[in-house]
Amino acid sequence: MSSSREPTSRLKPLFLLLMCCSLLLLSACWDRVEVNDIVFVLGAGLHETEDGMIELSIEMVLPQQEVGADAEADSELSTYVEAAEGRTIMDAIANLQQKVPRELFWGQMSTTIISESLAESGMQRAMDFLARHPGARLRKHIFITQEDPVEIFSTAPHLEQSASDTMKELARMQLGIEVDILELLKAMDEESIDIAVPLIETTPIGQGKNEKQDLQINGAAIIKQGHMTNTINMKATRGVLWLKDEVEETIVTISPEDVEGRLTMKMAQSSTSFTPEIHNGKWRLHIYAKSEDDIFENASHLDPGDPDTIAMLEQELAAEIKERMELALQIIQKDIQADVFHFGEIFRRHYPDQWKEAKLHWDEIYPEIEVNIEVETTVNRPGMTVEPIGIPKGEVEE
């Protein structure tokens, strides 16, 4: 053993020298990425042109400028919008890259917009790439727009750093639906599941020469079996949120009968639970929603200090929430007949045997499901004041 070691020790200086030389190889790292050579893509838009090509538009920002923008809050708009066409998305990226002197870096992307034309002809064309790309992140927000994505990205955001950031924050407010790529992929994978994706649009703000374009979420697009079929307005969208158990913050205004004025409540907590039932071949679904609210504005003559008033308000509130859900059900279950609420999934979990057969003709069963909605509400606190302010004492209703 020791004899075999000896030559090694004699060659040790040479060995060390060789090891040092190998350090030189480190500079030839094939996959190094210098921050000076890249540009961050913040958002991407996909649009199908009239001749069937895919138009890719991106919003990008230079790395240094993003740092600078943090330092000076009032810095100028530092994002750029660029677009190119191609037969596939990758083809469009290659064409786009020709216009951009730096390598596009996709790791920071937060938003993807899909135009109505592409969504109608089939989401699959866009989705596969979004899942397959090695830089792909599944937690990217998805929006559908009825405008050209370029216009969405070209808006001048006044609070956030970029249009993509604005959309990300808007989605997070949870006033509308929030959908990321993973959720969309799940929905597209199952034949029986459809999905509602938020609609984004430009809206003018400011007046006269200060007029600028900003963004807002306005309702949702219904994707049915991989194709966009309908849009729903904001009012129906709120009902969808309840039925998907995704409401986190919402405001409900009620105007009780025989009472002058309105009360507005803000929800503190909510949950929706589903109990499916198959009885004599009839498919039923019991939905039980629970909500806890606080009074935020009292523009009526009611005195929220009175327990009877609170009980009455709770009933009114429950009726209002039920109405929202029923409206959404009417539009989506009966009219559009898209299983956005994953009712199929709920039945599959509880009745796997019946489901196996039912899924083959789910589009016939789904609109016929009888839905019972029950809402229980609690009005927790009257806010910081008790009796309505600004109303003479005599006019307050007891």
Binding site: S4, G107, A131, P134, L138, L182, D189, E190, R349, P352
Partner: protein, 366 residues
């Protein structure tokens, strides 16, 4: 004996754990999901039966021939010629499997991080590190894995914990939607990984506390099973029926993590799990191969076999498939039968042969 080092049973259990899960935790969930669907978390439980059986067989054979590895006692059992042939089969088998492990490791790194780097660089650098560890002997491998294994465990746990807020346990229902068969089909892949526990037969002769070896090996099997269940459950709870569509579900899951806009893009954790785990796995396989080769050739020491085998391993890794799809196809379809037949069934036949032979000899004496 050509290996002077001694390790404890606990140390063996520590390096067997990443030696099984390192590649399994990333590759298996999607293969299992294809067959087992929502029952994919049950498959590791079925698979672990093979793990327990393999450990028990290896241990029983060891007690019949203490101080010898499978390469040596196959000669005692089957005679010189047949024994040598069986030894050669095992050496070629481990050469092939280690090559595949090396290839899997490189494909993951190339496919996700180093898109432009030549594969030979990744293969070569890993095999070089492995070679140094193997030349250091069994003690070095044991201690290196004592450092790497806790890192792997902690990182895996943190991925699961960070993911927890996005998990939707409702995907666990319905259980046994199509009966018990899908989960058994899914277990085919798992049992192949569990059969790799036969590698302990190369380490049992070097244990300082041999009497505890069975207990610790079983504990190692249990932990491997629990890890597979957790990995499959988190993939299922996050992706639902979509799990089968992902190549590396755990990787995609780690990328999905986002906590308060601050803790996100955690693929580096998975990368660390992968590199640390694959290193231990490779060293263990590589060591068994080198030691076995030296014993088969009756060499006085095994270190001279390490580098030549390393070069051979790189070549085998490249040969093991033209592309990732082919490698995955090999692992997914051939693997379950190939690995188990050599690592569980063949040893079982050997053991039965020994027991029958002993009984016959006893009968002849009496």
């Amino acid at each position: 004996m050509i290996e002077q080092g001694k390790i404890s049973s606990l140390q063996m259990a520590i390096f067997m754990y990443p030696a099984i899960i390192a590649t399994g935790v990333l590759l298996i969930p999607s293969i299992t999901a294809v067959h087992a669907g929502r029952d994919m978390w049950i498959s590791p439980i079925w698979g672990s039966f093979i793990g327990f059986a393999t450990v028990y067989i290896a241990y029983k054979l060891h007690t019949q021939y203490p101080g010898k590895t499978v390469i040596q006692y196959s000669e005692d059992i089957l005679g010189k010629l047949l024994g040598k042939m069986l030894g050669l089969i095992y050496l070629l088998f481990y050469l092939h499997i280690t090559g595949i492990v090396l290839r899997e490791y490189s494909e993951f790194i190339l496919g996700i991080f180093f898109l432009h780097t030549p594969i030979i660089v990744i293969l070569g650098s890993m095999i070089l590190v492995g070679a140094f560890a193997v030349r250091g002997g069994v003690e070095v491998i044991a201690r290196a894995s004592q450092i790497c294994t806790p890192i792997v465990v902690i990182l895996l746990l943190s991925v699961f914990i960070f993911l927890s807020q996005d998990l939707e346990p409702r995907y666990i229902l319905p259980i046994f939607e199509e009966g018990i068969t899908p989960s058994l089909k899914g277990a085919l892949t798992h049992q192949a990984w569990f059969s790799e526990f036969f590698l302990i037969s190369f380490f049992l002769p070097f244990l300082a506390d041999g009497e505890k070896s069975l207990k610790w090996s079983f504990i190692s099997v249990v932990f491997v099973m629990l890890t597979f269940i957790t990995a499959n459950l988190s993939a299922l709870f996050l992706f639902g029926d979509l799990t089968a569509k992902f190549l590396y579900p755990l990787m995609s899951a780690a990328r999905y993590i986002s906590i308060a806009d601050f803790i996100e893009q955690l693929e580096s954790l998975v990368m660390a799990i992968w590199v640390a785990g694959a290193f231990v796995k490779l060293s263990v396989f590589y060591y068994a191969l080198s030691l076995g080769t030296a014993q088969w050739l009756n060499l006085s020491e095994y270190k001279s076999t390490v580098f030549p085998l390393g070069i051979l391993l790189v070549v085998v890794a490249i040969w093991s498939g033209d592309n990732l799809t082919e490698v995955k196809e090999t692992v997914g379809t051939l693997g379950p039968f190939y690995l188990t037949s050599l690592q569980t069934v063949l040893p079982l036949i050997l053991l039965l042969f020994v027991l029958v032979k002993k009984k016959v000899q006893k009968g002849a004496k009496g």
